[in-house]
Subunit: 378 residues, 2 copies
C-alpha cells in the first residue's frame, strides 16, 4: 500500500497506530518476562493473524481464544497451542474434537460436575481426549468454582476417560471495577493466590495441575509477584482503550486504536459537530460511564493523532456521531468543515474493533502502511 | 436446509421467526397503503437481499440505505432506486458518482450551504449529475435545516450545475423518546408538517420538490394522515425489538429476531444462569435503560419461542451472558442444565443483527428453513 495516506481512506475506518501498538506489546512482554511467567496472549481483541503473530511467543502459540472461530482461524495459520477460555457446553464438543483430531492442541474450561460429566461422556463415546482446565472463581464476578470448595475436587474427579484435568485458570474481571492501581495490584495477588491454592489442592488429591493460568489486562499490568502461576492471559493491552486509561493501566496517549471519521454536518446552534462515525463504527460500549471521568462515546484526535482535549463524542446514532465541547463552549466552526477527518479514541477496544472487518495500519502520522483483515463470528 | 433444526445450530446464532417477520411487513405495508403514501423501506436493519426483496415494492426498489456499502450490495442485486440517508461529505462523492454512472439512481442528502457547494463543485468538475434531498430538522434531535429558515432556500440555491434539488426528507428520531402512542402520533404530524412546509417553500422559490420523505418506525406506525408526503422510510419494524415494544409500537410477541444461546454454567449461589451469548452476540445496546421497563440486555425465550417472563438477561461480558430472575427468586436449576438452548430477545434489532454475518430462518417452532447472509461495513 505504498503512498496511501489516511486522507485517501473511506470513512469510517478502523486505524491502528503501529508504533503505539508495538510499545504496548513490548511493555507487557517485558513485564511478564521480568516476573518469570509464561504469556498466553488473548487474541479475542485483535482477531487478526498479523497481530496474533506480533503477540505470540512462538508461531505455534500459545494463545487464548474466546470463540471456536478464533481457534479455527488461527489454527489455519499454524497456531496449535490454544486455550478456549469460555465454559464448554456439549454442543461444541464435536467441533473441539475435530480441531484436536486435526492437530490443534485445544484445551477447554469448565466449572461444574455436570459439565465435567458431559465432557467425560463425550470422550468415552468418541474415544477422544480433551484436556481441561477447571475455572476458578477468584473474584465473584462471573463464573468458576471456589478454590477452597469441595466442588473443586468433585469437578476434577468427574473428569474421566479422555477428559483430562490439566490444571486451573481464572480471570479477575472484577479488576475492571478497581479504583486505584494499588487495588488492581491487590486483585492480582488475590487472583494468583486463588489459582495457586486450587492447584495445590488438586495436586494433593492426585490430579494434574501443570497449568496455572491467570489473566486480565489490569491484573497482568500491575501484578508484582506471580509465584506458582505458569501463564498469564491478556488481550486488550495490545490496543489499550479509554476504560484502561481510566483505570490507570495506560495513558490516553498509549491507545493504539481509533476510528477515522469525517465531519458531515455542523449544528451550530446546538454546538454539535456531526460525523459519519456512529455507534455502528465505534460500538455502543459506554464502559467509561461508571468511571471517574465519563468519556461519552470517545475522545477526539485530529487526523495526525493529536488529542483535541476540549472535545468529546457525546452522542451516537447508527451512522451519526455527535461531537461537542466538554465545557459547552463555542466551537471554532471553520476548523471543523464538512469533509474534515477526525479520529475517535474508543472506550473499549474489543467492542469497537468488532464493528470492523479490517484494520488500516498507520506509521508516523498519516502514512497507511498495511491493511489487515480481521474476522468476527463464532 | 431440509430437516435442520434449531438444536443443530452452533451457538450463538441469529434467528428470525419467519411468520412474525412476514406479519410485521404486512402490517406496515397495509398501514402505509391505507394512508395513500409510498414506501421506501430502510434496509440498514436487515442488510440482507432476501429480506430486502420482501420489503421492496418492486425488484428495483425504492430503498433507503445508511451506507454506500448497502447501496453497492443491493445495486449488485438489481436495486436501482436508492436514497443514501446520511449527510454526504466530499470524500464519498466519487463513490456516489461511480454508482450513478453504473446505473444506480442514487440520491444523497445534505443540510448546509457548505455541503451543497461541495456537491455542486464536484458535479461541475466531473460533469456529473447528483440528485439531492435537503434534510429538514423536524424535531431538533440531530441534523437538518429548520423548515422556516432562510438557510433552507440558501441550501437549495447553492445546488448548481449537476447537483439537482429533488425535494426534502426528515427523520423524527425524537419519536424514540415519546412516552405514549398519542405523543408518537403527534410527532408524526410534526414530522409531516415540517417537510410539507419546507417543500412548499422550495416550490414557491422555483425549486423542485418532487420528493417529500419522512420516516421512523414509530412515526410510520402511528401516522394518521400523511397528506403532502410522497414516501415513508422505516426499517426496524421488519424485526421489531424491545425498544419498539416499550414505545407501544409492537407487542413483545411480534419481535421476530432473537439470538439462540446455550447455557454454559450455573452460579447457583448468585442466582445466575451463564450462557455463551455475551455482548458480542446481542450487542452493547441498552436502549430500554431509559424506558419505563428496563429489559437489561434482553428477554428470554425458550427454544420454541415462548417468553420465559420471570427471567431477564441482566449482564453481559464479551462471550458470556448472565440471566437471572427479575424478582430475585429461586431458579429451577434442573430446567436450565448446561447445553440447554434459549433465545434472547434484543433491545435493538439494528445493533444485535449487526453483530452477526448470517440469519437462520425458522418456520414454526424449531424448523430452520433457510440461512440468509447479511453484510456489514462501509
Amino acid at each position: 500500500m505504498s503512498s496511501v495516506r489516511l486522507d485517501d481512506l473511506s470513512t469510517p475506518a478502523l486505524v491502528i497506530d503501529q508504533d503505539r501498538m508495538a510499545r504496548n506489546i513490548d511493555r507487557m512482554r517485558r513485564h511478564l518476562s521480568g516476573l518469570g511467567v509464561g504469556f498466553r496472549p488473548h487474541v479475542k481483541t485483535a482477531k487478526s493473524i498479523e497481530i496474533c503473530r506480533r503477540l505470540m511467543p512462538t508461531p505455534r502459540g500459545p494463545i487464548t481464544v474466546s470463540t471456536l472461530k478464533e481457534a479455527e482461524q488461527f489454527f489455519a495459520h499454524g497456531v496449535t497451542d490454544v486455550l478456549y477460555a469460555v465454559g464448554i457446553e456439549p454442543g461444541k464438543l464435536p467441533h473441539v474434537a475435530d480441531l484436536r483430531a486435526r492437530g490443534c492442541d485445544l484445551m477447554v474450561i469448565l466449572d461444574s460436575v455436570e459439565a465435567a460429566a458431559d465432557v467425560s461422556a463425550f470422550c468415552a463415546a468418541r474415544r477422544s481426549e480433551i484436556p481441561v482446565l477447571v475455572e476458578i472463581d477468584s473474584d465473584g464476578h462471573r463464573g468458576g468454582v471456589e478454590p477452597d470448595s469441595d466442588t473443586l475436587l468433585d469437578v476434577a474427579a468427574a473428569l474421566t476417560s479422555g477428559a483430562r484435568c490439566r490444571g486451573v485458570m481464572t480471570h479477575a474481571g472484577a479488576s475492571y471495577d478497581c479504583r486505584s492501581t494499588d487495588a488492581i495490584a491487590a486483585m492480582a495477588e488475590q487472583e494468583r493466590a486463588a489459582v495457586v491454592r486450587a492447584a495445590a489442592r488438586l495436586r494433593a488429591a492426585g490430579h494434574d495441575a501443570t497449568v496455572v493460568s491467570v489473566g486480565s489486562t489490569p491484573t497482568a499490568t500491575f501484578a508484582r509477584d506471580l509465584a506458582g502461576v505458569t501463564e498469564v492471559r491478556a488481550g486488550v493491552f495490545v490496543f489499550q482503550d479509554l476504560v484502561m486509561a481510566g483505570l490507570g493501566v495506560c495513558a490516553v496517549d498509549d491507545i493504539a486504536l481509533s476510528v477515522l471519521v469525517s465531519v458531515i454536518g455542523q449544528q451550530r446552534e446546538k454546538g454539535w459537530i456531526v460525523t459519519d462515525g456512529g455507534w455502528m463504527a465505534v460500538s455502543r460500549d459506554r464502559g467509561t460511564a461508571g468511571q471517574a471521568v465519563d468519556q461519552g462515546y470517545g475522545l477526539v484526535r485530529d487526523a495526525d493523532g493529536r488529542i483535541l482535549k476540549s472535545l468529546v463524542m457525546h452522542g451516537a446514532n447508527q451512522e451519526h456521531g455527535l461531537i461537542s465541547r466538554r465545557d459547552g463552549g463555542a466551537i471554532d466552526w471553520d476548523a471543523f468543515r464538512i469533509g474534515r477527518r477526525l479520529r475517535i479514541v474508543p472506550n473499549h477496544a474489543c467492542a469497537t474493533a468488532a464493528q470492523h472487518a479490517e484494520y488500516f495500519v498507520v506509521e508516523g502520522s498519516r502514512e497507511v502502511v498495511a491493511r489487515w483483515e480481521r474476522f468476527g463470528g463464532w
